[in-house]
């Protein structure tokens, strides 16, 4: 069962816009807010349809968060979008105080996850957004890996009280899921295996599946999970993975505070296992194509395979 990475037909941004139309039609209190990146996420194409349920504030991210808070006070459910770096580190205190601490309701979509910010470079390349959002009390934090999942997460955010942060890429993801898939537990087990577990999120999920195929050719059976819910993390899934004795996490994000950290926290407290975190280590962003950046930051299929093999040796030597 070799995994063939095939890009989806639909872009993630189109799915965001389509889902907004769906939710806005169902509930007049749904309102989409933008800060001059409406064309980038294609909500510009639906603004006429959304009418009063859409507001582009201009380049004022702090005000956009405050507006979302005020709208929530009066019973609205704001869906706020901007690039993930602006949606988190630029307006961190606004998100923290006016939304989270005030216990108001909003869904924040941070687009252009990690290296997919490509030619916008270091100023626009978020490697820390999940980390920042994860330490806000009661926050729900997700990273969408394909459009089917994104739609589900947006619905989930709509139904949940409080603050939901969803990280996504803007363009086409590799197809992972079908209509029949549900996303309730916080993770998806994509492949069984007893030798090692590969836990990934976002664009690294399909890489983990490819890595598992390569490992299988060498007789190593790797479990693969899509850990789309960073907070609260699916503890049961991590503990199941820990039974293999070795885990490689893979994320398009700094290894501090994101998926690798989340998994290591569960392991350290509940069930120690060998762990290696594939991710960004002590680096800022830079311009480049996604594939070149992945190579440069060593967040690739090859890196997952190499670290998995090292970890299996480590496990054998200690056992």
């Amino acid at each position: 069962m070799t995994f063939m990475p095939i890009k989806e037909e639909i872009e993630m941004r189109k799915m965001y816009a389509d889902t907004l139309i769906e939710l806005a039609a169902k509930d007049e209190k749904v309102i989409a807010l933008e800060a001059d990146l409406s064309s980038a996420i294609t909500t510009s194409k639906i603004k006429d349809q959304l009418k009063d349920q859409f507001l582009n504030l201009g380049i004022m991210e702090a005000e956009m968060i405050g507006t979302a808070a005020g709208l929530s006070v009066t019973g609205f459910k704001p869906f706020v979008h901007t690039f993930a770096n602006f949606a988190t580190r630029r307006v961190y205190d606004q998100v923290f105080v006016s939304l989270a601490y005030a216990q108001l309701n909003a869904v924040i979509l941070g687009s252009d996850a990690g290296v997919t910010a490509e030619h916008n470079g270091g100023t626009h390349m978020p490697f820390e957004d999940l980390s920042l959002m994860r330490i806000i009390p009661h926050n729900k934090v997700y990273e969408a890996s394909d459009s089917t999942m994104l739609r589900h997460l947006l619905h989930k955010g709509y139904n949940e009280k409080g603050l939901t942060y969803i990280r996504t890429i803007r363009k086409k993801a590799v197809k992972l899921y079908g209509e029949e898939d549900t996303f309730e537990t916080g993770s998806k087990l994509l492949r069984e295996g007893n030798d090692i577990a590969l836990l990934a999120s976002g664009i690294m999920v399909s890489d983990a599946l490819e890595a598992a195929d390569q490992l299988a050719e060498e007789g190593i059976e790797a479990m693969v999970m899509d850990m789309y819910q960073l907070k609260p993390i699916d503890k049961e899934a991590v503990l199941k993975a820990a039974k293999t004795g070795a885990i490689v996490t893979a994320e398009n994000h700094n290894v501090i505070g994101g998926l690798g950290s989340s998994v290591s926290e569960v392991l350290a407290e509940e069930s120690p296992a060998h762990l290696y975190r594939v991710g960004i280590r002590e680096k800022f962003g830079q311009v480049g194509t996604t594939s070149w950046l992945k190579e440069d930051y060593r967040i690739t299929v090859e890196e997952i395979v190499e670290q998995a093999k090292k970890l299996i040796l480590k496990k054998a030597n200690i056992a």
């Binding site: 504030l57 201009g58 405050g66 005020g70 929530s72 009066t74 205190d93 606004q94 105080v97």
Partner: protein
């Protein structure tokens, strides 16, 4: 227009707010005296007459909303909310105590009657634009009032909010600027000259005027004027004094946050007793 008796009533209400503000701060032993006292007359006009809000309708979406963007003035808002019956008097004297419902900066989840959590300066103005927009989109004609500090208008976010409200024609948003001319580290003029607030707001597309922020009559007339505005939000610049109404606090150059020593404490108690006598309360 209001009659002479109504003005007298508002003046008495202001005195009561000032009395309980001073009392809760003094029992705590420290706090933001200066900026709490400078907005007392404005709170008296809002909660005594202009703001459609009371404990009975505190969850009614049609009520008027109030955002104290300069959250450090929480103590005078608490005194007002107590006088309006939102919570019992005992609560006032738990200000900033461990586990209190009255923290130094207002928290909508702790204190009945507080519409928005504030304290991180600049953010309350943004929230008030969101509230005014939400009410407008919902077809309600209720008002949103916001008090922002003059020092607080150093914050860039406040000017984003001010522009947003103007662009979206939020004419049921009324912003008060508490122009007490001082911020934590000294005179606003020395730290970052705010220039002329009225012309700044006018340039942003507002109806704006400067009034005496110690006169309930002028404040009341200004709110009436603001409510007649169509198509534009209003900014009322309150000419105030930090520590307003308590002469020896007014005369202190650094009254933003006070931890009174024994001598000052005695003076405050004296002022408190004197207002207490005027309003018929024995402290």
């Amino acid at each position: 227009m209001v009659n002479h008796d109504e003005i007298k009533d508002l003046e008495l209400f202001a005195k009561k707010i000032r009395y309980y503000t001073l009392k809760e701060l003094t029992l705590m032993g420290f706090g933001h005296y200066g900026g709490s006292l400078s907005i007392v007359e404005t709170l008296a006009v809002l909660y005594g007459k202009q703001l459609n809000a009371s404990p009975e309708i505190k969850d009614d979406l049609n009520r008027d909303y109030f955002v104290l963007s300069k959250g450090h003035a929480g103590p005078s808002l608490y005194a007002t909310l107590f006088l309006k019956g939102y919570f019992p008097e005992e609560w006032l004297y738990t200000l900033n105590n461990n586990g209190t419902n009255l923290p130094s900066h207002p928290d909508r989840n702790l204190t009945p009657g507080v519409d928005m959590t504030t304290g991180s300066l600049g953010q309350g103005v943004s929230a008030s634009t969101g509230i005014a927009l939400g009410n407008k989109l919902s077809g309600r004609d209720n008002y949103t009032f916001c008090i922002v500090g003059d020092g607080e208008l150093n914050e860039g976010q406040a000017w984003e909010a001010i522009q947003m409200a103007s662009h979206n024609k939020l004419d049921h948003l009324i912003i008060f600027v508490d122009d007490n001319k001082m911020q934590l580290d000294g005179p606003t003029l020395d730290i970052s000259n705010p220039l002329d607030f009225v012309s700044k707001f006018e340039a942003f597309g507002y109806h704006s005027k400067r009034i005496d922020g110690a006169s309930v009559k002028e404040i009341n007339e200004a709110v009436e004027w603001a409510k007649s505005s169509e198509g534009k939000p209003t900014a009322i610049i309150l000419d105030t004094i930090k520590g307003q109404g308590i002469p020896f606090i007014e005369s202190m150059s650094d009254n933003h946050h006070l931890r009174p020593d024994e001598a000052t404490h005695a003076e405050i108690v004296e002022a408190l007793n004197s207002i207490g006598e005027e309003i018929g309360v024995i402290s």
